[in-house]
Structures are given as structure tokens and as C-alpha cells.
Amino acid sequence: MKERPSSRQKILLPLCVLLAALALWSLLSVLRLFPESLFPSPGQVARGFYEEMQRGRLFDDTIASLFRVSVGFVLAVVLGVPFGLWLGHRVGARMAFLPVINFFRSLSPLAWIPFAILWFGIGDTPAIFLIFMAAFFPIVLATLSAVAGIPTIYFRVAQDYGIGGVEMLCRVTLPAIMPQVITALRVTAGLSWLVVVAAEMIAGRDGLGFLIWDARNGLRSDLLVVGMIVIGFMGVVIDRILVQLTRIPSVRWGYER
């Protein structure tokens, strides 16, 4: 049988790795193997972090990025899931749309950056557009394949028990695809967070992506690392929030086969 880690181990073990990484980083900067402007020390980064917090810019940038991701992602979900449902139920429509959807899913959302700027200028809109383009197609694909894969037996049982129409959608189709859709949401939310950074680097005047781009331009490698840490940390936070969805009792079956 596999050993179950205790809750203390769950905290202590990752903490050890973190501290070791920090120690290595400190060592490398103490040894001055690289010029200070290219390889900031943990102390410099901590000071940079404090400075940014004082100015309130870090907070504002984080909020700006989160706002863009939320809007773009929610739009993609609200439009993508129903579209996927429809395609999942209609073989003809699926055949018609699938090549196009696969094409756009394979097209890097970053390739849209020039058009995003040409069409929407600088600010929230191009970033939201890019996030939408990144999230929409994977969500449609995941939903439609989940719908197409629902075992026929569920629909037969539903018919036997007098379930039909809208009730069929709410009580059979949606719960049946929920585990797969939640997985797709986690993946696409991560993708959206990757895209927002790139979008803001090029088409932004604020946001975490702009923060690190601006830090590079100002040769503030300490702030660059601050931005990187916050971006990584927020990405983990977003995923931790979405992972809570997989703990809902009525979707556990999808992850515990």
C-alpha cells in the first residue's frame, strides 16, 4: 500500500525545496557570478517588492490583469459551453465546424496580437479579445467531445423515467459532462493567464505583463523578478480556486474511476 503523507509533511517538504532554492539563489548572488543588474539578489527583490507595494502599483497591475482574464475567460465559457453542447448533439454541425475549431485552437492566440492592436488599440479590450481567443476554442472542443461521449444508456434511463427536454439537459447532459468541463476550465484558465502576460507586454499600459516589460525597459531586474513571482503565484491561486470545483460531491465520480 502507498504511504499517505501526513499534513505536516505536506507543508514541510515543499517548504524545504523552496528554502533550498532560495539558498541557492542567495549563494549565486553572493558569489557575484553574474553582474548585479542581470541577476538580482533575493534582498534586492524583497526591497523592490516593498517599494512596489508602497506605490500601490503592484496591486493595481494585479487587479488589471485579473480583470482582463476574468472578462475574457467568462465570455469564453458563457459562449463556448452552449456552442459545444449544440455541436455535441448535432452530428452535422459537428462535421461542419470541427475543422475550423481545430484550426483556431491550434493557432497560437499570440498570433492575433497585431490584429488585436489594430482593431482595439491599447488597453483592456485587446487583452480581453486575446484571452477569449485562447480560451473559447478549447472550451468548445472539450464540451462537444464530452457531450458526444455521454453513454447512450443515460439517455435511455432518462427516457424510461420520463425525463425529457430541458430537464434532460439540466439533469442528465450537464451533470454528465461536468467533470470534463471542469478539467477544461482549469486548463483554459491557466492558458488565459499565460496569454494575458504576453498581451499586456505588447498591448498594455498596465497589468503584470506590462510591469515586467516596463521593468526590463528601466533595467530594473529586481522588479522583473517581483513581477514574475506575482504572475506565477497568481496562476497557482487561480488553479487552486478552480480545483475546488472538482471537490463538489456530484462531480467526484469523474475523477475517481
Binding site: 434511463v157 424510461d160 423515467y161 456530484s250 465520480w253 469523474g254
Partner: protein, 250 residues
């Protein structure tokens, strides 16, 4: 006959070029329990699918009076609903909340899963899931039950006990039952008539009536006789058929 529930007339079915069922004629009366036995892969499950109306036959006609529920071999439970919610699905038309809860509780007692109301299907063993399927189908007022090997995942003792209790449930609230099984004992203990099918394409090779009240002892001479009769029919035992059970032609 006015109490006819199900009538199959010259029903044939094929998947592509594979003939599964050939020229089947069968009439099932109200409250009759008919067991269908035959070699595996002979088309028993297909026959149930046709009877349920989920699949139309390639040719011939099937008439069915009243609603039917199918009890699947496995995985017919909704995995996103708890045991209790799955069973309550069978009582959807029971408006009285309290009555519904009581009936679910009674059914849980019947399948001996009282402590499992809040469990999800994936947390149960195969045999437990089968029992929940049975409870869900029995809940409510459905007249026709189509059972596809409903006890196949149960251990021998549980199977015997479930058979016994099912027989009593049917005594209390008679229903028309078509029971597909390859458990010949099960057929002999529960059925009014046993239909023996041939290898694919399935034809009826014999119909064995058993006139004996339920629940029946497994060792009752007539039950033993019927078992022998089926085994002989399937070429698994030497045929010495007693006078009470002279096979009636279909």
C-alpha cells in the same frame, strides 16, 4: 386475450449483415414473469432493447401496453446522483415529499443498503450498484420491468435472497416482467414461463411453463425438473423429462 401486455409478431433484427434475432413470436400477458435464457451472445440483450422501444426491430412488429423500465446489467445509475437520489428518480411522480422519502427508505431496506443512502454509485461495489438499479426500477408504478441479468454481479447467497424477496414483492404488487438471464436457477425460481433461445440468430427453441406459486424453493421438484429441462434443451444434460413439464411448443 385482453390482458395482453406485450406481443411480438415475426420480429427479426440484424446489425448490418449479422442476423441477431429471427422470426420471433411471443405474447406476454399482464403480470406474467417470463424468463429468457439462451447461450451467451445469442441476442438476449438485443431482444430487451427492442422490447423497451429504444431500438426499432429490422422487421416485424412489437406491441407494448404501458410504460416499461429497463434494469441494466451495470452502469445504468446516474453517477452524479447519490443512491437515494437515484432511487427517488423512480418516484418522480410521487408529489408527496414525505411519502417519497418513506418509499425510498423502504426500498433501501429491501436491498439492504440502509446505510448507503448518501453514497455515490462509484463508491459502491458492482453488486451493490445492481441492487440500487433494481430498487430504482421497482420504485413507483411502472407495469413492465425489463431485467437484463439483474443479479449477475451478486454473490450466490445474496442472489438467492434477492430472488426470494423479489418474488414476494411481485406477489404484493404484480408486474409484467421479462427477465433475461443465463442463470437457469433464477429463471426456474422466478418465471411463469421460460423461453429458451437458440444460438444466434436467436429463435425460440422451447417454452417451459412452471405453474407453481412464488417464492419457490430451489430444491422443489418442479424447479429442479425445470432446470434439468433447460439444461437438456441446451445440450448440457441428458434429456429425461418428467410428465409435469412436457415442453409446450412455442
Amino acid at each position: 386475450m385482453s390482458d395482453k401486455r406485450i406481443e411480438l409478431q415475426d420480429v427479426s433484427h440484424a446489425f448490418g449483415t449479422v442476423e441477431v434475432i429471427k422470426s420471433l413470436n411471443l405474447t406476454i400477458s399482464d403480470h406474467e414473469i417470463v424468463a429468457i435464457v439462451g447461450p451467451s451472445g445469442c441476442g438476449k440483450t438485443t431482444l430487451l432493447n427492442l422490447l423497451s422501444g429504444h431500438e426499432p426491430p429490422s422487421s416485424g412488429s412489437i406491441q407494448r401496453v404501458g410504460k416499461a423500465r429497463m434494469i441494466y446489467q451495470q452502469d445504468g445509475l446516474f453517477p452524479w446522483l447519490t443512491v437515494e437520489e437515484n432511487i427517488a428518480l423512480g418516484l418522480r411522480h410521487q408529489k408527496d415529499e414525505e411519502a417519497r422519502r418513506r418509499q425510498v427508505r423502504d426500498l433501501l431496506t429491501f436491498i439492504r443498503l440502509e446505510g448507503f443512502a448518501g453514497h455515490y454509485p462509484h463508491q459502491l461495489s458492482g453488486g451493490m450498484r445492481q441492487r440500487v438499479e433494481l430498487a430504482r426500477a421497482l420504485a413507483g408504478e411502472t407495469d413492465i420491468l425489463l431485467m437484463d441479468e439483474p443479479f449477475s454481479a451478486l454473490d450466490y447467497i445474496t442472489r438467492l435472497r434477492m430472488r426470494h424477496e423479489l418474488a414476494e414483492i411481485f406477489n404484493e404488487r404484480p408486474r409484467t416482467v421479462i427477465l433475461v438471464t443465463h442463470d437457469i436457477e433464477e429463471a426456474a425460481q422466478l418465471a411463469d414461463r421460460i423461453v429458451v433461445l437458440s444460438e444466434r440468430p436467436a429463435r425460440i427453441i422451447n417454452v417451459i411453463p412452471i405453474r407453481l406459486p412464488r417464492p419457490r424453493n430451489l430444491t422443489h421438484p418442479l424447479v429442479v425438473e425445470a432446470i434439468h429441462c433447460i439444461l437438456a434443451q441446451m445440450g448440457l444434460e441428458d434429456a429425461v423429462i418428467g410428465p409435469e413439464l412436457q415442453p409446450a411448443k412455442a
